[in-house]
């Protein structure tokens, strides 16, 4: 029986050089590709994001783990049965109009991807209609980022636009960024305020 703890550990510790060999070894010793994905690669990311939330690991380590996870996926992908390993859901994320910040948003996008969500990274300086379109297309999870006190009112504009289009109940809306607070999120009618990607992941998982 394959020992998946080594793979979990390699993702958690970001062992880029070892991960592909370990995934191959797990396959060779009979582990199911889907099990390797869920019980090893994604689990390793869960461990690291949890520790990040607790302040025990730091951003560069999380990024290294995400890269390690992706590298493991490259070996695993050809073996995943069609239809399996499907995304947990689709999350569209972007930065509001007039705001050009993208580091935090990109971090969230990358980490959601690494724990199994399909992420549509919409970019920066976006018209409210771009967010609305995503929900029209069936996206159920929407992340809105703003880093300036002058641009966070745009978050409300987006939520109001969803309301007007009759789409508000079709999606869950996350807001985040340095000037955003829980109170502000509630005031403008967002579903969730996520202080960072780890909290966002927990909130998403709580919906499942």
């Amino acid at each position: 029986m394959a020992d998946l703890t080594k793979v979990v550990d390699a993702v958690y510790k970001g062992r880029l050089k070892e991960i592909q060999g370990l995934v191959q070894e797990a396959l060779d010793t009979g582990a199911e590709p889907n099990t390797i994905l869920d019980e090893a690669l994604v689990k390793g990311m869960d461990v690291v994001t949890q520790k990040w939330k607790e302040g025990q690991v730091f951003v560069p380590e999380v990024l290294r783990s995400a890269k390690t996870m992706q590298s493991g996926m490259d070996i695993l992908k050809p073996f995943l049965v069609k239809g399996s390993g499907e995304a947990k859901g689709v999350f569209a994320i972007g930065t509001v109009k007039g705001d050009l910040h993208d580091i935090g948003k990109n971090l969230v996008a990358m980490l959601l991807e690494s724990v199994g969500y399909k992420v549509i990274n919409l970019g920066i300086d976006l018209d409210p209609s771009v967010f609305v379109e995503q929900v029209e297309k069936g996206v159920k999870y929407l992340g809105i980022s703003a880093l300036l006190t002058t641009t966070i009112p745009q978050m409300k504009v987006i939520i109001d636009s969803l309301e007007e289009a009759g789409l508000r109940s079709k999606c869950k809306v996350w807001v985040g960024g340095a000037p955003v607070t829980q109170e502000y999120a509630e005031e403008i009618g967002a579903d969730f305020y996520a202080v960072d990607a780890a909290h966002c992941i927990d909130q998403l998982n709580s919906l499942r």
Partner: protein
């Protein structure tokens, strides 16, 4: 080093609360302490108070300038606040900040036209925050050309290269340092400045990262920074780095600072 004292910012909880209760004595003490510790400008920022920023800002300007002999750094995301603030100050201030973003530039240009104030220029345009040093420098050159066209003296311009977190890309620190040295060489007379909190985002021991970056930046020609002048460790690093870079004749500042008990090792 031109020190822009950053303490009066409502993103800090104690400051926000004091402003809520209009505690004049508190702010005057904050301002005095920063001047005594060696600040060149006192930054005033209440941008986090979305609904009452305008009135809050004018009250702060009034209260602070009553007790200090140095200039204010008027710091707001809202050009209207900056325009009114400029009318209320009794000493030539530093305006924080202008960028190459079309809308922001158009709103701020009339305020500073004819060298009406010193100004911090962020090296970014409508395409965003540059991710290479080349793009940062290109923005710096364009911004200075435009500001000089408005009648600003080069010595009135403080360029901020917008350092990005090293935690997300380990090239970011080096890129900012390269921008600083290239800007200082290609635009003689201009100032460079920066805040420090971005560089250490996502890392432990952030103050250590901030302080070490600042020393590196001074070594690359940085001549201003938005910092807490009451932080003895950071001020010690600044004073020492400037001496080592040959900016302290006969090491006078350094030795005086020692005598005044300002240095910590």
């Amino acid at each position: 080093m031109i020190v822009i004292g950053e303490r009066i910012n409502t993103s800090r909880k104690a400051i926000n609360e004091a402003l809520g209760r209009r505690d004049r004595v508190f702010f005057q003490e904050e301002a005095r302490k920063q001047e005594a510790a060696g600040a060149t400008f006192i930054d005033v920022n209440c941008g986090s108070r979305l609904k009452s920023e305008f009135e809050d800002f004018m009250w702060l300007v009034e209260a602070v300038q009553e007790v200090v002999s140095i200039s204010l750094c008027l710091d707001s995301p809202d050009p209207k606040v900056l325009a009114e603030g400029l009318k209320r100050v009794n000493k030539r201030p530093l305006i924080n900040s202008i960028t190459l973003e079309k809308e922001r530039y158009a709103a701020l240009a009339p305020i500073i036209e004819g060298d009406a104030a010193d100004v911090i220029g962020l090296c970014m345009d409508d395409t965003g925050i540059p991710n290479t040093s080349e793009k940062t420098v290109e923005n710096a050159l364009r911004l200075v050309e435009k500001l000089e066209g408005l009648g600003l003296k080069r010595s009135s311009i403080y360029l901020d290269p917008l350092v990005q977190p090293v935690s997300v890309d380990t090239e970011n620190g080096k890129a900012a340092l390269k921008s600083i040295s290239t800007i200082m060489q290609s635009l003689p007379g201009v100032h460079t400045t920066c805040g420090l909190s971005n560089v250490s985002y996502g890392l432990p021991e952030r103050f250590l990262v901030n302080r070490t970056f600042l020393v590196c930046a001074v070594a690359h020609g940085l001549d201003s920074a938005i910092i807490d002048p009451l932080d003895k460790k950071i001020m010690t690093s600044v004073i020492t780095a400037e001496m080592i870079m040959g900016k302290d004749e006969y090491c006078g500042e350094f030795i005086d600072a020692m005598r005044e008990g300002k240095l910590v090792s």
